[in-house]
Symmetry: C2
């Protein structure tokens, strides 16, 4: 099967115009089929502040209320997404900006209210992904660029975690492609010593992971990422890579600088 | 050739949530291929006001400065466009939201500076339209929904008149489809008596137009619309209809209530 890269970038790239442009230059030069998924970064908070929309928390969990979903629809789906698309077009990368509502690519279910009503937040499943449209776009050498938004099929846009969107797209498309799912974050990869960028573990398989867990050698926050990576691999994704956005060129080749998670 | 409707709605529909929902219900029931083009309405001005971005005029002409292009990219390309797409999905209409940057569908040229620098405003030509992607989407029964934004192929989004986008799309696609271009506005059609909705002229051809002009029977503001309609027809569009957004059901059949402009 043909290779497909599903690449997720977060706020640390989106919020830094120079880092974003550097990343997009590298992204445009990556050969082959690819999909970009972006979060929103701090710009939504900043614009929301200007409009008198303050982040809304309940028991420490962020709530997407009516004003907030409009805000993120504007900022993630409009400002951030279209600027990325226009930048990629200037780099001769034929990008198309999408939310899950566009072409019904990612229908979601509004998260059921249990202890907390998270508001306009959507949960997604790989079985619901409209892979036909995505495959048709990829075959036309058009690169989908996803904002972290889905819809409830009842007329509402939903806020959805960008990591989850990347993972669900990767799993759904693994039936048609050899997918490498790449999570870009602020570190070189999974580090043995969180202070030392040279301590990247370049390859983690289940036995090594169990050993690292037993030896308590993994820094805080990385364990859920690795768990999610193994879940994606268990569902058909060929490999998951965790690395620095600035190392994308290497991390889309066999000479990786980040951490490859495989069975 | 198969029929295609290219339908433009403006601020009078966008700014009125009830009118917009009524319109989208009717739009979703229109049989056959269709494209929607929307302007932005007053919501951009309102949100801009909240953010301290006031409309910028020079010699009476509106200027799209740096802050304004970001504002309209957010509001037209994000908030308005994605809400329309989500609403159409709820009505089982498989819509996809686009700007001219997406899939490079509408590359533009930033308007050259002569007496006035209009800022981030784009001019477009039918020969530049990427009809391959649009035709592919239409063949998959996906309905493009355009925000009135294009791009300069150098990384910038450009503000572009929605009437012009509708006309340029209609002309470019007239090679592949029998296109009826429908301009929705606040009146039933071209009226002989501007105060009387029953005075619609249902059909205007060039001889009648010359006669109406000579007799000074056309109300102010409608003449450029009719001139643009004849220009579109002269460039291959089969027919142009000017009518009320609330009459879309009739105006997409032979039993029109608006004004059909034909050769």
């Amino acid at each position: 099967m043909e290779q497909l890269f599903v690449i997720k970038i977060g706020g640390n790239v989106i919020d830094d115009p120079e880092k974003l442009q550097d990343f997009l230059h590298t992204f445009a030069r990556v050969k082959g089929k690819k999909i970009l998924v972006h979060g929103g970064g701090k710009i939504a908070t900043k614009i929301g502040h200007g409009l008198g929309i303050e982040p809304n928390y309940h028991q420490g969990r962020r709530i997407t209320d009516d004003k907030t979903i409009d805000l993120v629809t504007m900022v993630y789906g409009g400002l951030v997404n279209k600027k990325i698309v226009a930048s990629l077009q200037a780099l001769n990368e034929n990008a198309i900006g999408l939310t899950g509502a566009d072409g019904n690519v990612l229908p979601a279910v509004r998260r059921p209210v249990k202890e907390i009503d998270f508001g306009w937040v959507g949960d997604i499943q790989e079985s619901q992904v409209n892979t036909a449209l995505l495959s048709a776009l990829l075959q036309q050498n058009i690169t989908p660029v996803f904002a972290a938004l889905t819809h409830d099929s009842q007329g509402h846009i939903l806020n959805t975690n960008a990591d989850t969107i990347a993972s669900v797209l990767a799993v759904a498309l693994s039936k048609h492609y050899d997918v490498r799912l790449i999570y870009c974050f602020e570190k070189k990869g999974v580090l043995l010593d969180v202070e030392d960028d040279h301590s990247v573990i370049h390859r983690i398989d289940p036995p090594l992971y169990q050993q690292l867990l037993a030896e308590k050698k993994l820094f805080e926050g990385i364990i859920p990422k690795i768990d999610n990576a193994f879940a994606a691999i268990g569902s058909g994704v060929k490999e998951v890579l965790i690395g620095d956005s600035q190392d994308l060129a290497a991390n889309t080749t066999p000479e990786i600088t980040g951490t490859l998670i495989i069975y």
